[in-house]
Amino acid sequence: MPVQVRIPPMLREATGGARTVEGHGSTVGAVLLDIDRQHPGFRERLFSEDGELRRFVNVYVNDEDIRYLAQLDTPVRDGDTVSILPAVAGGGRHV
C-alpha cells in the first residue's frame, strides 16, 4: 500500500533531492526498507548499526510519533504520510 514519505532536507541528497518519495509496505519499517531499495544508502542515514532508529530522528505516521504507537511495526495504510524529522539547531558555527 503506497504511502507518502516526507524526506527532511538533511536526507534529500540520499533520495536524489526528492522531498517526497512513495513507499510500499504495511508497516513503517517495511516502508523505510522500500525507500532504501529505491535509494540505496538511505537506511544508513536513519538507522544505527544495531538496526535501531537513530535517537535524534523522529518518525511520524500522519501526526503521531511512532514511539507512542508500535515503533517500526506501526501499521500504515494507503494514503498515510510518514514524516521523518531529525533534530535541528540552526547555528553559526558549531552544532
Binding site: 501526526d63 531529525p86 535541528v88 540552526g90 553559526g92 558555527r93
Partner: protein, 362 residues
Amino acid sequence: MVVVYVPTSLRRLTGGQARVEAEGDTLAALLEDLERRFPGFRQALVAEDGALHRFVNVYINQQEVDDVGIATPLSQGDEVAFIPAIAGGAQPFTETQVQRYSRHLILPEIGGRGQRKLLNAKVLCIGAGGLGSPAAIYLAAAGVGTLGIVDFDKVDLTNLHRQILHGHKDIGRHKLDSARDRLADVNPDVKVVPHPTALTSENALEIIGQYDIVVNGSDNFPTRYLVNDACVLLKKPLVDGSIFKFDGQATVFMPGHGCYRCLFPAPPPPGAVPSCAEGGVLGVLPGIIGCIQAVETIKLILGIGEPLVGRLLLFDALAMEFREVKLRRDPECPVCGDNPTITELIDYVEFCGLPRERALIG
C-alpha cells in the same frame, strides 16, 4: 449633580483637579457636560462610533459597570469614575501609550486589560540572532515591558542576511548593544535587560528565574538542552523554534505538557547535523519562525487563542506548507517524566559529545 473622578491622564484638562462636578442623567449626557466644562475630556474617553473606548473602565458608586453603554442612567449624587487602565495599583496609560497601542486597545481580545498584561510581562530571549531578532522586535513593539536578551556574540557581516536586529553600522559591536539601541527605537516603554554571557549550568537558573516566559533562539544543541532543562526545573513556559535551510519548526513547551527531551531524547552526534554556517539557511526563514514565536509568546501572556502546546508546527518555505505533528509528554522523560532522574542542570557539552574547546557554552 454627579461627582466625577478624573483619571491622572486627564487632569491636565481639569486644571489638576482629581474630582469635579458635572450634570447628566445618563453617561452620554454627563460626558457632554464634561466636554463643555473641560474641552477634550469626552474625546479622550469616547471612540468615533460614540461608544466608550474599550480600554476605559467605568465605576458608578465604586462598582465596576460591565458592558457599560453610553445610555446608562445616573442619579443625583452618583459618583462616576472613568479609569483607562486595569486596577491593581497600575498607572493608567499615558496619552502616548494610548496612541502607540491603540490598535491593540480596540481589539476585544486585548483591550486595556491585555495591554497591561503585556506591559507587566517579563520575557527572556535566548539569542539575538536569526530567531531572536524578529521575536525581540515584535515583542518590544507589542509592549512587553521587560525583555531580557542573552547573547555574547558580536555582529558579523554574515549575520546581516537574517539577523534583522542588526545593521551594517553595527558590525563589530556586541549584539546586545545593537539590540538595545534598536529596541529602544522600536519602543521606549520596554526595559531591555542585557545578559552578555554564555548561558551555563552555573547561571541559567538564576537568569531564567527572573522571567515569566523564555523564547528559545539558540543555535546549538548544548544550549537547547540546557534551556529546556532549566525551564522544566523552574516551571517556565518555553517558546521554542528551530530552522534549517528552508524548513522551520516551532512549538510551546508548557510545564507539565512535555519538553524538548520528550521530543528529542538525545542530541545528534557532533557533525551529524550541519549548522547554518555549514548547510546554509534562507535568510527570511528565521524571520517567519521568530515571528511565530512572538505570536505564541503574546498569546501566552494574554491567555488567548490556542497555543502550540502539544503541537509541533513544521514549516516548509519552498512548498509554503505548514503541517503539524503531535507532541506528548513522555512519562519516562528524565527531566519532566513521572520519575525524573535529572533534578539539576548537567554538563551539556559532555551530553552532546562536543570537545570542550568547540563548545559555545562553558
